[in-house]
Amino acid sequence: MPVKPWGVDTVAGRVRALAVLALLALAVLVASAYAAVGDAREGVRTLGEREGPLAESIGDMYLALTDMDAQVTRVLLTEGEAGWLCAPEVAGADCERSGARYVYDIRREDAQRAALSAASTGPTDQARMRTVQALLNGLHDYDRHVQAAMDAAAGPGAPPPEAVREYRTATALMTRELLPKASNLAGEEAADVTTAYREGRSSVLAGRLRVLGAGLALVAAMAGLQVYLTRRFRRLVSLPLAAALVGALALTTTVATRLTTEADRLRTAKQTGLDPALDLTRVRALGTSMYTDRARQVLDPENADRYDRRYLDKSQTILHVAGASDLDGYYRALGRSVDFGGYFGARARQDANHPDGELLSAYRTYQDLDRTVRELAEDGRLDAAAQAHLDPRWRHLPHPAFRAYDRELDARISRHQAHRVHAALEAERALRPMTWLPPVAALAVGALIAAGIWPRLAEYR
């Protein structure tokens, strides 16, 4: 019989073949772990450092635009054009630029920065680039109309028709062009993050499956080796092999559990961090925008009907009440409704542990206020409506009821953003030992396997 040292017809050959199988499984285990850890890190950074914050800032662009429109509307409503038009650097110190103007400028910069970051992300997407360009141009046009409205409205008394006309053009530009574009950009970015997250998470889970499979294959191969050696050489148990088996099991479970935790943290960062933060930012923008719609109704009574309709549409998007086809019905239903949909409804269903009682009651209080303002406006008492719409003490501020509601939203947005950041940090930290642990453990297991079979093979030399 010819000597075939690597064949499986000799004892040594069989031992070697089993050992090679075990080492192969070990190699697959380590490679899978390495790849899965890489995927996990990629996923964590996507949500924590790159696309996640970017999606938030592009989502905030929508809010920034509604903020700008809100400032303009309120200034015209409170006849604060002088403070708006004041340019201290030109006029010297004899006028004071209003806070509203500063807020407008800051939010404009926020929007512009977010738009530019949307353009610079990812592969060059011509369509997105054009959207950003159109958005920036539109912002410029909007500025121009606002300036014209302020110029025309400067001077005592309610804004003249010319100012209202310019204002109407500006606000229509905002509603028809700027906001839809910002919304579409935000939606696209959010969809990109979701795609990246889903791919990342499923590759981590697929990696875990590979690690488990390779780990089991390793255990099976080593058990085979153990059985063969025990019977063939009449030893009880090979200690190094037993240790290698324990090591392999420990390595497999450690890597698999760690990957499970990573997948969970990714989900936490996405589903209790980024997603609700983006949703609530949209709700906040809708709230600002509908609060402004009521002011628009006072400022531009000719189009009152349209603004009123938009107010209802936005209310229904935030908190949907079935069957309320007009605002009177909506206000009534809001007082007694327990079964509701929209953003708030979805939120209540998803997360029963964190009831939004305070947020909802703040929303109801604000809607109660709006009901009063609307009644005054519909009776034609526009001055009284404007009075009731704004803070009774500081007229340049929104009404306290609206501010309280807005603050509730803001607090929740911050909390969700913090969840995202925290989950990403935790996940990143948990990944740190995973770069060196699997290869080192694998080397040890490999060495133990070698130590286990070496003396037996030596008997055949």
């Binding site: 499984a25 062009e177 499956l209 086809s325």
Partner: protein, 285 residues
Amino acid sequence: MRTVRSARTRAATVALAALSVALLAATLTAAPLVYGDEPESITGRDELVIGVDDGLPGLSARTGDGPLEGFEIDVATYVAGRLGVAPADVTLRPLRSSLPEDALRDGTIDMAVSTRPITAGRKDRVTFAGPFYLAHQDVLVRQGDRTVRNVQDLRGKRICKVPGFDSWQVVTGEREVAAVAVPMTSHRGCAESLAAGRVDAATTDDLVLAGLAAAVPGTTVVNAPFTDVKYGIALPEGDREGCLAVNRILTGMYQNGAATTMLNRWFGTSGLDLPATVPQFEGCP
């Protein structure tokens, strides 16, 4: 004794080794299959059946025995083309009385481009790309009629009541404008009665009115929009990839001027202010 034990040892060893090899092979091949399942999408199809409206001039209607023509058809063909489906492989299927969501569910159509608006209820059953057009309820009057400037001016006027459309109710019910509803069998018949002076106004979505205005001489759109109606592209529920792809196509359609060309072709003479920018999308699941 020895041989039995030896045979058993061998069997156990072989079994364990085989198990190990099988596990390893399965691990390397099966893992991506378990976590890589995306639902079927309308992207990457060779042919498409698209549900459309019928009998709406300017949107989707036949001239004599000819094919369906109109803005809806142009949009459907454009979107299908950008999805890589040639016009010859597109089948246009009029929805008639069936709802797009039902037709999508039972698989008779792959997508629907129609004036049935996106609503919260429908969104639970199908995935909506778009809207491809944001319509508004508006008013159609006789050319030269200056008495109707907005919906409130319909007080005391005779307006059409077309079966299957509740737009007249929005005026008399929701808006509490005391208009007189006159029953009509179709929108076209309504527009003809309007031109002949048998009614004073028609009210429904602006594109439907614009189509009528272009088809029936002597009528014009007032341009007094008072509601938002989203014309979406309905896709099978959960087709996220398709939804994102169609939204990208629609963005491009407005950016490159194709949408403006289509709108002008069908509604250019109607008096309606036509939009030139893409509407705000509903967002994909």
